[in-house]
């Protein structure tokens, strides 16, 4: 055993993964050939169906972080779609209008001793994509009003939705045959050969479907789209401030997950050749959720494993365990052991798994992200040493120098309930300039940034960027126009790596959509390669501080490094105006000085900067103009040295000197 492990240890990780995949493929291909037991093959085919459902829910819950408790509804939609269009349930009167469809093989004319009727004969292979599209359509229809809700409200709405669909199926008897269920659903055919009732063809079809959806899941995960979903999961506000259109991407996740379920519905109903409302109730949604949680939310292989484990637990292990217990009970004469039935208790076991996983192993069997090992001293010093500036700044190119004013704010007023956070603030940032905003705590500085980037609405005034009104636009639109920011309290995507964080910064500058992500055509590859190179260049600006840590999750970084990643992420958006909210907070003097130099070098490249900062010497080094806020209003504006001597400013910062003097 140890020798075997040593033997494997010599193989590189990627190669080992390929070998593992090959072994798995071979096993799956030969399993029905060597194991001639129809019931077991059927269990595996069912496991495949659940694995596809788990993969779909994983996109919604695991990737995008949207808790959907009514996922089985989409499963039902696909199932009834195929069921209705291949069974003898709905049979309109035949007319010649149906003839073209009959030519295509979608319908046939039948006669059951009355007038001629239409019998739908939709092909299984056509139904798979069609049901996926239909379910995705329902996903959009249903998601559009509800995806704006807070996460926990979404859970309860989806729960209700999941309950409604089976009710409709039960009540709409003319279409679905109600609680009795659809009968005579057509088995799939392939080149004239009927799948019939044997489990083996369904087994292979199911495995192909799983393989296909694993492929799609992985392609999506490792693309611009997947990164955007994970950004939403980690921090919605930061995601929208980085240019991600929340509504659109949430809908996409919802629709994609629904599409997986719709296709699975077709497969499942074709296999069972019946569809009843009970097959799609809340227990199914919960079971799929348990699979995702068990396997690891966000982990593609994890959820497949979770589905396989739970399904096989149900059909293989629990019956055996029950028999063993009965035998043991007979042996020791224990009546309870002879009666116990674990198969019946399977849902109880699901509940226990759910709770136990949450308490003891929230990341699941195969965690989506694995913590990177700590870096050795040598590994921390691979890149160049930076002293007071960036390394290799020339690589990220010159910023376009605009003329006139980059940002013009006039009469801006922001109120929260009765509290006025900003009142009538007017401020101008010339193109290529550096303006610093200072002021005591609670004077409205961060509110100003939030208003500029569209995170809070303004009650009055205007904000123009490069001459165009941006007040009222969504945060992602504002970013798209070239305004990027950092946050005072650091809002990175904590469970993603440094590289992924910086890549997400480029979201708005890349074009790959979901289809492109899955197909990964040369154009997409080229775009992705350029994006990664650019991200690496930006990370390399910070030399040894960040470059060796590009593959680490940001939650493990030091505070100062997280601030640097935020700056890097903002630079990746290719801003023409950069808003920095206390970029040096929590840094020691040496680190502060270093970052100040770096900001100055950005400015020399032509980047326009608006900066909130408390350390006055940083402000003095960087800013052409200082704006002072107090109680939400502007009390002074001018060159740093002038502002430092301004009596009103000193009073705002140090308090009323008059009284101090009088008491002295």
């Amino acid at each position: 055993m140890i020798r075997l492990r040593r033997c494997f240890a010599g193989i590189p990780a990627a190669r080992r993964r390929q070998l593992g995949l090959l072994a798995l493929t071979v096993f799956i291909l030969v399993f029905p050939l060597v194991h001639d037991n129809d019931a077991d093959i059927d269990s595996m085919a069912n496991a495949a169906a659940y694995a596809t459902l788990a993969l779909g829910l994983n996109i919604v819950v695991g990737f995008a972080g949207l808790l959907d408790l009514g996922y089985a509804a989409f499963f039902a939609i696909g199932a009834y779609f195929y069921g209705v269009f291949t069974s003898f349930q709905v049979m309109p009167l035949w007319s010649d209008g149906w003839a073209p469809l009959a030519m295509l093989g979608l319908v046939e004319k039948i006669n059951q001793g009355g007038p001629d009727l239409v019998h739908f004969t939709l092909s299984f292979w056509l139904a798979l994509p069609a049901a996926a599209l239909l379910a995705a359509g329902f996903g959009v229809l249903f998601g559009a009003p509800t995806l704006r809700l807070r996460g926990d409200y979404l859970a309860i709405v989806t729960l209700g939705f999941g309950e409604i669909v089976p009710i409709v199926a039960r009540n709409a008897e003319s279409v679905t045959n109600g609680a009795a269920g659809l009968n005579g659903v057509q088995a799939p055919r392939l080149f004239g050969w009927n799948f019939g009732v044997d489990a083996t063809p369904y087994y292979y079809a199911g495995m192909v479907l799983v393989a296909l959806l694993i492929f799609v899941s992985i392609r999506l995960r490792d693309s611009r789209i997947g990164r955007a979903w994970m950004a939403i999961r980690e921090d919605e506000v930061a995601a929208s401030a980085m240019g991600i259109d929340l509504v659109r991407l949430k809908l996409l996740a919802f629709a994609t997950g629904a599409a997986f379920a719709g296709a699975t519905g077709v497969f499942y109903v074709a296999k069972l050749q019946t569809a009843t409302p009970e097959m799609f109730g809340f227990p199914v949604s919960t079971m799929v959720l348990v699979m995702v949680v068990l396997g690891g939310m966000g982990s593609v292989w994890g959820v497949v494993l979770g589905a396989a484990v739970l399904q096989l637990l149900q059909s293989w292990f629990l019956p055996d365990l029950t028999e063993w217990c009965h035998a043991l009970g007979a042996l020791v004469g224990n009546a309870w052991l002879q009666r116990v039935d674990f198969v019946e208790s399977v849902e109880l076991i699901f509940g226990v798994i759910l709770v136990a996983m949450m308490l003891f192993r929230r990341e699941g069997l195969i965690p989506a992200t694995r913590p990177a090992p700590a870096l050795s001293f040598a590994a921390q010093h691979v890149a160049g040493v930076q002293r007071g500036g960036f390394v290799g700044l020339e690589r990220i190119g010159q910023w376009p120098k605009g003329g006139g004013n980059a940002l013009e704010i006039s009469g801006l007023t922001v109120r929260f309930g009765g509290l006025t956070a900003l009142s009538n603030v007017t401020l101008t940032v010339p193109a290529g300039g550096v303006v610093a905003v200072i002021g005591p705590n609670g004077s409205g500085k961060s509110t100003l940034f939030n208003a500029i980037t569209g995170l809070v609405p303004a009650q009055a005034g205007g904000i123009r960027f490069e001459g165009k009104d941006i007040l009222g636009l969504k945060p992602h639109d504002i970013l798209r126009r070239g305004v990027a920011r950092t946050f005072q309290n650091i809002r990175l995507f904590p469970n993603l790596t440094v590289l992924e964080n910086v890549l997400i910064g480029q979201h708005a500058r890349l074009a790959t959509g979901p289809v492109g992500a899955v197909l990964r055509l040369p154009r997409t590859r080229a775009e992705e390669a350029t994006a990664v190179q650019r991200a690496i260049d930006i990370i390399a600006l910070f030399g040894n501080r960040l470059a060796p840590r590009a593959g680490q999750t940001v939650s493990g970084l030091s505070y100062a490094n997280r601030r640097r990643v935020e700056v890097a992420r903002a630079l990746a958006t290719r801003p023409r105006l950069l808003l920095l909210d206390e970029p040096t907070a929590g840094m020691n003097p040496a680190e502060t000085l270093e970052l100040a130099e770096q900001i100055r070098s950005l400015h020399r490249l032509g980047l326009t900067i608006l900066l909130i900062e408390h350390k006055l010497d940083v402000v003095t080094r960087l800013a052409d103009t200082v704006v002072v806020l107090d109680h939400g209003g502007k009390i002074a504006e001018g060159p740093p040295d002038e502002v430092r001597r301004n009596e009103q400013v000193l009073r705002a910062y140090l308090g009323r000197a008059g009284r101090a003097a009088a008491d002295a």
């Binding site: 009003p145 809700l149 709405v157 849902e347 709770v355």
Partner: protein, 309 residues
């Protein structure tokens, strides 16, 4: 029956259902108000409560609707049944909080909510496995008194349900508004850190919220049995969804809102069911839930003042 009598009858039915949902909604609202957690285990704590009530009534030798009690014995049996049920479900709620949710108190994301789903599932299946899938006849010792209100019938059990629910809600309101612990509860809901700094033991407050909410769910479970004359392992889901909808409709976190929401949902179910067909009642309730969440997420009564001063 005239249309008006029919309407009147559905109002009577609706108020009884509403009393039940309001008690359930209070449990959601108390916990959500403090932890911002949708407690799915509440669905089946309610269901378990109706079984505890069933067993308690059986201990008094009651089964079915044949044994009728009057006067003091009736009052005593009912009081004992409510007390035992509420204490037992309260204890279940406290246990769930203490052992399964408290370890997750500082975990971000949906972990705590997923845990409550798991707990709900466990309770559901425990009852299914121990009691079985058949509905159980629920003892009802009330004399079959009925009054005519116009053309509608008002039975004694309905009057009793209204009285009990009103008393419980008054007691809860008194607790939350007037007692020290109740005030601490409101303070914690409004600003947990500030409450802690006043010396409030937040753990104790959260436990109290779970106890009260679960105890009210137990009372609601008993009322369910008295009203429908049966109980089953299945009743948690529908009633729970209605209770939650009631809490959202009234403004989640808002105690009077939960009561109002409960009554409205009860009336909607009864009257809407009459008009459109009971098979679609769930669809109506769900539609209300979605519409409220989308168009008025703060609910009818909402919050009385902004969250942070």
């Amino acid at each position: 029956m005239t249309t008006f009598d029919l309407f009147l009858q559905q109002v009577i039915n609706g108020l009884s259902l509403g009393a039940m949902y309001a008690l359930l909604a209070l449990g959601f609202t108390l916990v959500y108000g403090i932890l911002e957690l949708i407690n799915f285990s509440h669905f089946n704590v309610f269901m378990v409560g109706s079984f505890i009530a069933l067993w308690t009534l059986q201990q008094f030798g009651l089964s079915g609707q044949e044994t009728i009690l009057v006067g003091l014995p009736l009052a005593g049996v009912l009081l004992a049944a409510f007390a035992v049920t509420m204490l037992a479900t309260g204890a279940i709620g406290v246990g769930i909080e203490r052992f399964l949710l408290r370890p997750l108190r500082n975990v971000k994301g949906p972990a705590a909510m997923i845990t409550t789903i798991g707990v709900s599932y466990i309770l559901f299946n425990l009852i299914l496995l121990t009691v079985g899938a058949d509905s159980k006849n629920f003892p009802n010792p009330l004399p079959p008194l009925a009054f005519a209100v116009g053309g509608a019938v008002l039975r004694l059990r309905e009057v009793l349900i209204w009285i009990v629910a009103t008393l419980l809600m008054l007691a809860l309101t008194f607790f939350v508004q007037r007692t020290k612990l109740g005030k601490a509860m409101r303070a914690t809901a409004q600003d947990p850190e500030a409450a802690r700094m006043m010396g409030v033991e937040v753990d104790r407050v959260i436990m109290t919220a779970f106890f009260l909410g679960s105890a009210l769910a137990g009372a609601s479970g008993l009322i369910f049995g008295l009203y429908y004359n049966f109980t089953s392992y299945l009743i948690g889901f529908n009633a729970g969804l209605r209770g939650f909808t009631a809490a959202v409709l009234g403004g989640i976190g808002n105690v009077p809102g939960a009561m109002l929401g409960g009554v409205i949902i009860g009336l909607v179910e009864a009257i809407g069911g009459q008009l459109i067909g009971t098979a679609w009642a769930d669809v109506i309730i769900f539609a209300i839930l979605v519409l409220v969440l989308v168009f008025r997420p703060a609910g009818l009564l909402g919050r009385l003042a902004p969250d942070r001063s």
